[in-house]
Structures are given as C-alpha cells and as structure tokens.
C-alpha cells in the first residue's frame, strides 16, 4: 500500500462520526467606513508602511522621483515610471540582488489591514519584491476593498500562481521585542496613489 493510501485509510478509520456542516462565511461589510483610502492609509502606516501623498503640484510621481534620485539600481515593472534595470533581461532571481528600489503596481489593496496584493504578473520576477532594498507600490485608489472577505473574492487567487499581501516592510522583533524594519526583505515599503493608465484598463 502506498503512503498516500495508507494515510487516507488511517484517516477514514479514525474520522469522528459527527455531523459538522460547513458554515457559509458572511462578508462582514454592513458598516463600511466613509473612506476606504483613509482607513487603508491609517493601517498601512501602523504596519510600518509609508503613504506618499500627492504634492500640491498634483504630480503624483514627484515623491517617487525624489526617492529614487540618488539610487544606483532601480527596477520598475510599472509602465508609469522607468528604472535603469530591465526586468525583461533578468535571467535568474539572484540577478536582482543589487536592486536599490523596486517599483511595481499592486493588483488591489485591503483597507482593513493596510495590505497591497502583489501577484506574479505585477512582479514579473517574484523575488524582485524581496531582494530589493526598498519597495515602491503604485495603487489605484479605486482598487481598495473593505476587508479580507472581499479580497479573497478577487480572481488573482484562482488565476495567479503566486500572489502575496504585503503590509509594510519586512519586519522583525525577534530580539527583545525591538522592532526592526528590513529583517531579510525590503527595508521600506511606500505606497503611491495613482490611477491605472486608461490604455491598461481598456486592453
């Protein structure tokens, strides 16, 4: 008998003979907040992330340009802003080890937790979001859902091979509870509110 059959047979022999129906899970959305963006921003900051408010000039990417001005290696998968490392030319993930700033667009965000979802299609090379020193995420404010119940209705979880909620930067407090940003992955995560390019959504 294979281990598989053995284990399944053992489970069947031991199954508690009890009636335990599967409950349906409500969406818990009967009292939505007035502003999803405000709640998202509040929770993102609580988790150590930064929200880059658009400057008075209205040029949403200006704070991003300021951040990356002094950086040696910038890798962007977002059409709105160019870097100097072409993600298309990356052979192995470890080729991204020297990236200072990665710039990607989030599939969507969750107000309840301050999370952004980054899927394999957004990242192109998954390791980009972890090997870079800093991560900048573009987010269309229209792409914020109220909570995780709504989030898990999005098609990304059935279509993408890899998708991860990022909520602030890599963090640890494993030594005496002292909070450190940049445990192994990115040292900072910044979210920039900027609408998706119209051509993108039309395609």
């Amino acid at each position: 008998m294979s281990s598989r059959d053995d284990i399944l047979a053992s489970i069947r022999a031991n199954l508690p003979r009890l009636e335990r129906p599967l409950p349906s899970v409500p969406l818990f959305d009967d009292r939505p907040p007035a502003s999803l963006l405000a709640v998202f921003k509040e929770n993102l900051e609580r988790m150590g992330g930064a929200f880059l408010d658009p400057p008075a000039s209205g040029e949403a990417l200006a704070p991003v340009r300021a951040k990356i001005a002094g950086a040696k290696v910038v890798c962007s998968t977002a059409p709105e802003i160019a870097g100097n490392r072409d993600i298309g030319g990356v052979g192995a993930p470890r080729d991204l080890a020297d990236v200072d700033f990665a710039i990607v667009r989030a599939s969507f965000a969750v107000a309840e937790t301050g999370s952004v979802l980054l899927g394999d299609a957004d990242l192109r090379v998954n390791a980009l979001a972890y090997l870079a020193q800093h991560l900048i995420v573009l987010l269309d404010p229209a792409d914020i859902v109220v909570n995780l119940h709504h989030a898990y209705r999005w098609p990304e979880f059935r279509e993408r091979r890899y998708a991860a909620f990022h909520t602030g930067p890599s963090a640890t407090a494993d030594i005496e509870g002292v909070l450190i940003h940049g445990a192994q992955g990115v040292r900072s995560l910044s979210v920039v509110p900027i609408e998706r390019a119209k051509s993108h959504s039309a395609s």
């Binding site: 489970i11 508690p16 988790m47 930064a50 972890y130 991860a164 909520t167 890599s170 030594i175 909070l179």
Partner: protein
C-alpha cells in the same frame, strides 16, 4: 463598543523593566509602532545574566518540566523579560479583538470550519491533491517524520542540491529535519531571525511564533560573536539584526533549494499559504529554482472564503497585528521553477480518532495560549523539553510519547485563559485535565500525582463534599505551616506563592447574599 485600552497605558507586570529612554522606537505620525511582535513599550533588563537552558532530556524518561522551570525562575532578568513580552503580546491581542465587532463570530466560524474539515479530512486532502497536481505541483505523502525526511532528501538529491534555505516550520522541528539533513551532508540555513539565532545556538525554538523570546540581547550577542563574528561587546539590537541580514544574504543567494512550511492549505484552489513578518519565506521560495513545502495534513481548509476568516484571526491572536507583514499564496511553480508539497501525517490521523482530543487538530499555531499562560510565561518554552510547549503542547505532546511527556499536562493551573483566547475555540484546559485522567489510567503518572487525582475525582463527583472540602481547604491554607503547602508534592507551589484564600467561598457568599433575591 468601548474604546480599546492602548497597551502603552495597560499595566506593566514588572515596572522595573520599563526603560525611561526609547532610542529604538520607530515613531510614525506621533505613534510608536508595535507591529510584527514589537513591544508596545520600551523594556530593558539588567544584564549580564547567564541564559538558563531547557529541560534535561534523558531518552524516553519523563521530562521534569518543574525542574527546568525552577532554573528559569532562578534567572530573574530572563524570567521577567519573558513574562513581560508575552503578556504585552496578549494585551495587544486584546486590543485587536476589541477593534473587530464580529470577533466572536469569527472564532465560531473558524472552529466550525475546522471541525467540518477534520470530519471530512480524506475528501479535502483528495481535492487539494487533484487541484495542486493540475497546477503543476508535485504532491508527496509521508506517514511519519522519517519518511518526510527521506522524501525531502530524495528531491534534493535529484537536483544535486547541497544547500537549503528555509523558513520556520514547526513540522520540520517535529520531524527532526535539521539533524537528519546534517547527517546526510546537506546544509540547512534558517532564514527567520529568531529561528536562525536558535539554530546557531544549537537550541530548539522555545515558542512557536517567537523562537528566541527567552533570550536577552546579551545572549544573542554572545551567540552571534561566536558564530557570525560580531563584536562580543556590542549587544545593540539594530547592529545584531543587521549583522545577521548581511551574513545570511549571501547564503540565500547561493542556495540550491528553498523550503517553507504552510499555515493554510486551500482545497478548492490547490494552493498553500505562508505567513511571515520578515519576508523570509518568500525569499526561500522565490530565489532558488526548487521550492519544497512541508505541510501537516490538518492545515487544510475548504475554500478561499474560509481563508479570510483564518487570516483575520491569526496574526491578531498571535502578535496583536491585524495581519502578518507577508501573507503569500502559492498555487503553482513559477516559470522555470519546480514546486513540491510533502503532506505529513506523523500521528495526526491517529489523533483524529481520540474522542476527547481530536479537536486539538484545529490548532492554527498562533501561540495565543502560550502568551496568556502564567505557567508558560514564567517557565520558558524550553522547560517543556518538547517540540510544542505551553498549553497547546500539553495536549499535543503526549500523543507523540505518553511516557516522556507524562508530566506536561500537570504544568497548568487549569485557569482556562488558554481556551478563552484560542481563535479556533479548542477547549484546551479541559483537554489538559482529560490528559491527566488518561495518563493516570495508563499508569504514566507517579504515585503522588495519582493519589491527588483520585482524591480530586471522588470529591468532584459529590458536590456537597466538594463544598465542604473547599471551605476546609481555605481554612487550612490560611493556617497550615508553609512546609505543608510548599512541599515536594506540589510542584506549582515551588515557583509561586499560593494565593490568599478568599474569606468566604463563592457558594457561601451566594447563600448569604443572593438566595431568594432573584
């Protein structure tokens, strides 16, 4: 809804630990950040104090948890810091709980979903396997720890892999995975900071979420000085964490394979989910070409709708954060990559058949029961001498070895706080008591405990005698000489003072005050 109490305003157990200055604080918008297990207030001990080590292991002989706990308590700086940090996590958990109106409904849902899944475990594993295979994942099945280790070794051998980066997994601890890999010449590098500290110190994790919570910064400085060459005199936490990052990164980049555990497995999509704060699981999975995930068969849930319930509960219960920094969903190998899942039984199917204990399989390994437990907080996780410590350990460990872990169910005051905080509503304290009975029945318990259990059982079955005994015990506690209370038979009288008995029993108070008034 009442306004939640902020942890910074919440009472501190050991005021002498509260530091006046807070140079490590990260402040945003006037608020001190405390996510990802960060303490909500600055704490400092008075080191140096030598780190107390864990329980002494003598083969199959019963672990003497009380002996190891006594040594932990004899190191007051360690004990106080441990107590304070875990209590801080518990308070942050409460803050999160008060922030969500539907908290209790989520707990009930989580419990019902898990009980449904466990009573249909064969069907959901079958569904997961079929979906995972069609996503391109290789699925393996391991009856026990030895088979798990052999399977992983086989996969690594097939790829000529000699080094493995991995994220924290209690299952691999359970399987003795690192010692096995060392014996076959494969280098394993833990990438979670706490787990890496423990690996470098050749010590087991003491807590399922915060593996090095029992160590002070000076202990870590000593370990790092010996192993990664840091300055032995520098115990600055930022310096230590950064040194570890710099030391581990080249190993991550050069590794031949990566390994993770899984927090949840979703049957309907054939995906598994890993939650970390450091992003180290994502590095382990996404940098090397080969990703192996070791997963206990009880981790399965039916649907994505169910996953939402568990993700909302996990980190809030665990660390008092709304979510972990990273929640990663793996549904198939990336282009050019290879993904393997090893589904491990290792006693779980058998546990399913234990009428009184099968619901312990609902556990999502959040650690909330440990953080709230007065015995755990004061004795340290290593005192249990087992993979799983704290209240959940007391009810899981005896299923692995009833003799070796026969003392563990007695390391509890049965106060029930563990059951109250459990996000999946496991009746932990009742199972602890049931294990005591079970072990007595199996003659795995020494005479003194057996006699006490027998007397208690007889007493509890006769309410009038129980009430008389409680009243008598209160009188006795107030008047008995100390040696009668704090003798060798009462292990939990050794490390603590027995509380002052109430002047009046509840029953007597009720008789005097409430009878006929309602």
């Amino acid at each position: 809804m009442s306004a939640p109490q902020r942890p910074s305003e919440a009472p501190i157990i050991h005021p002498e630990l509260k530091a006046q200055d807070d140079p490590d604080a990260i402040v945003r918008g006037g608020r001190r950040l405390d996510h990802a297990e960060g303490t909500s207030k600055p704490l400092r001990t008075q080191p140096p104090e030598k780190q107390p080590r864990g329980a002494k292991i003598h083969g199959n002989r019963p672990i003497d948890q009380a002996e190891a706990a006594a040594r932990f308590i004899a190191a007051p700086e360690h004990e106080k810091m441990h107590d304070e940090r875990l209590w801080d996590l518990r308070q942050k958990r409460d803050r999160e709980m008060h922030g969500i109106d539907e908290w209790e409904e989520l707990r009930s849902l989580a419990s019902a979903i898990k009980e449904h899944t466990l009573t249909h475990l064969d069907e959901y594993l079958d569904q997961f396997e079929a979906n995972a295979r069609s996503n391109g994942i290789h699925v393996h099945w391991a009856r026990d720890a030895a088979e798990h280790n052999r399977i992983v070794h086989g996969i690594l051998d097939d790829h000529g892999a000699k080094s493995l980066i991995k994220s924290k997994s209690m299952l691999t601890e359970e399987c003795g995975f690192r010692p096995y890999m060392a014996s076959v010449g494969i280098e394993v590098i833990e990438t979670d900071l706490g787990e890496r500290i423990q690996q470098l110190d050749n010590e087991d994790p003491s807590h399922i979420v915060v593996p090095a919570v029992h160590k002070l910064r000076t202990d870590v400085a000593e370990v790092f000085a010996k192993t990664i060459g840091t300055d032995p005199g520098n115990s600055d936490v930022h310096y230590l964490a950064e040194s570890q990052r710099e030391a581990t990164r080249p190993l991550i980049l050069a590794a031949d394979a990566g390994m993770t555990g899984a927090n949840f497995v979703v049957a309907e999509t054939g995906a598994f989910v890993v939650c970390t704060n450091e992003g180290n699981a994502d590095l382990s999975a996404n940098v090397p070409k080969l990703h192996i995930a070791s997963i206990g068969i009880e981790k399965i849930i039916p649907r994505l709708d169910d996953l939402a319930v568990f993700i909302r509960l996990l980190s809030r219960s665990s660390l008092g954060s709304p979510i972990t920094q990273y929640t990663s969903h793996f549904r198939g190998p990336r282009a050019g990559g290879e993904m393997h899942v090893v589904l491990v039984d290792n006693g779980r199917a058998e546990r399913l058949g234990l009428a009184e204990f099968w619901t312990s399989l609902k556990c999502i390994r959040c650690g909330a029961c440990m953080n709230t437990c007065p015995v755990y907080r004061r004795s340290g996780g290593l005192s249990y001498g087992a993979t799983y410590s704290g209240p959940i350990g007391l009810i899981i460990d005896p299923t692995f070895n009833a003799r070796k872990y026969s003392n563990l169910p007695f390391a509890s005051t049965l106060n029930g706080s563990c059951s109250d905080v459990c996000p999946v509503k496991i009746n932990i304290h009742e199972q602890i008591y049931a294990w005591r009975r079970e072990l007595v029945k199996r003659h795995e318990v020494p005479f003194a405990k057996r006699a006490a259990m027998k007397a208690a059982g007889e007493l509890l079955s006769r309410p009038a005698a129980y009430r008389a005994a409680i009243a008598a015990a209160a009188v006795a506690l107030a008047h008995l000489p100390r040696f009668v209370i704090y003798n060798g038979l009462n292990a939990w009288g050794r490390g603590r003072e027995v509380p002052h008995p109430p002047r009046q029993t509840f029953h007597a108070w009720h008789e005097a005050n409430r009878r006929g008034k309602t």
